[in-house]
Symmetry: C2
Subunit: 198 residues, 2 copies
């Protein structure tokens, strides 16, 4: 199995997938990683809905496409460079919906205070994405579908207290993923106080 830092440095968003399936035991491995994340008061207020059903995935794909066409693209066009825009667009107009597995990560406000959900659910999502990378699968943290949060909740039959927070397609990458592009530490870190350099 891969070394920890190698996985962390290799992680990159994947938005288009082959048709090859991902077995349940692999999905369970990703969920085990996700559910080992820390959470406020160890309340573990996460819920994962693993969508394999073809019609359900198509409905989620449609929601994402609509969010993209109704404003997402216009917003991103002015912000993203061409390569990333094209990749996000491919994901939003079919790539994510066509992943063999779509995992919707939700926050459960009956398990923890609403305000603690992001600091509990997103670390779990990150564990899941890293675990996918570790086993050689592609994945991405997408939030576009949460623009239509109510409709997404309705597709998944979620009760009132469970709110969808991220939609994570999982599958075999349709093409090789390059190295992630990140700014160096010294542009993001400060010593002792803002402006203290690193």
């Amino acid at each position: 199995m891969p070394e920890f830092f190698e996985v962390v440095h290799r992680q990159r968003a994947c938005r288009t997938f082959t048709a090859e399936d991902v077995p349940d035991e692999v999905v369970e491995r990703l969920l085990e990683a996700a559910t080992h994340a820390p959470s406020a008061e160890n309340r573990q207020p996460w819920v994962f809905v693993v969508v394999r059903d073809e019609k359900m995935r198509a409905r989620i794909g449609k929601l994402i496409r609509r969010a993209w066409e109704d404003g997402g693209r216009a917003y991103s066009e002015q912000r993203l460079e061409a390569g990333l825009l094209a990749d996000v667009g491919r994901g939003a107009t079919g790539g994510v919906g066509a992943a063999p597995v779509i995992i919707v990560a939700c926050g459960d406000s009956s398990a923890a205070h609403e305000r603690t959900l992001p600091s509990s659910v997103f670390p779990a999502v990150q564990n899941l994405l890293l675990a996918a990378t570790a086993v050689g699968l592609g994945s991405a943290l997408t939030t576009l579908a949460t623009v239509h949060s109510g409709e997404l909740a309705s597709v998944l039959d979620l009760p009132e207290h469970v709110r969808p927070m991220a939609v994570i397609p999982v599958g075999h990458p349709a093409r090789p993923l390059g190295a992630p592009r990140r700014q160096p530490v010294n542009e993001k870190a400060h010593r002792d106080r803002w402006g203290g350099g690193w």
Copy 2:
């Protein structure tokens, strides 16, 4: 170096530390892991302030203690079992402030839309915590000090557009950390829709 899943399954909050220092090159390794996280539009809107200065750490420790004594303890007393309450209390009344390194993770709203900060900053924080685990250090994701967010920002000289989101003590654990206690996957995962079982 340790295997990926071994690190993920071993991660646990640590809130009391020995006086032993953590060298800069190790801190940098944690920051490198943090800055490799995904973020909305790859905007990387994270800022890490690495506090080593003793007086600065004492000021942060004081803020945390005040948040605990002014309401945190009363709130937690009714919610946490005795062991966890005692551990959180030890952290809040001195343990976190006495860590040799305190890393404050912030979100920069000049780099990305305010609403995307949690889904970008908390994955980076999780990478940092996992990296600490990988190199044998203790750490914890704490948010108690953000109750006094304005004061914390002022201690760190943060500009208006940079908001502190988590305070992460890093150091050598004062006592061995046991295994994390987590609910099993089948209590947290559903197939295709809510109530679909796993």
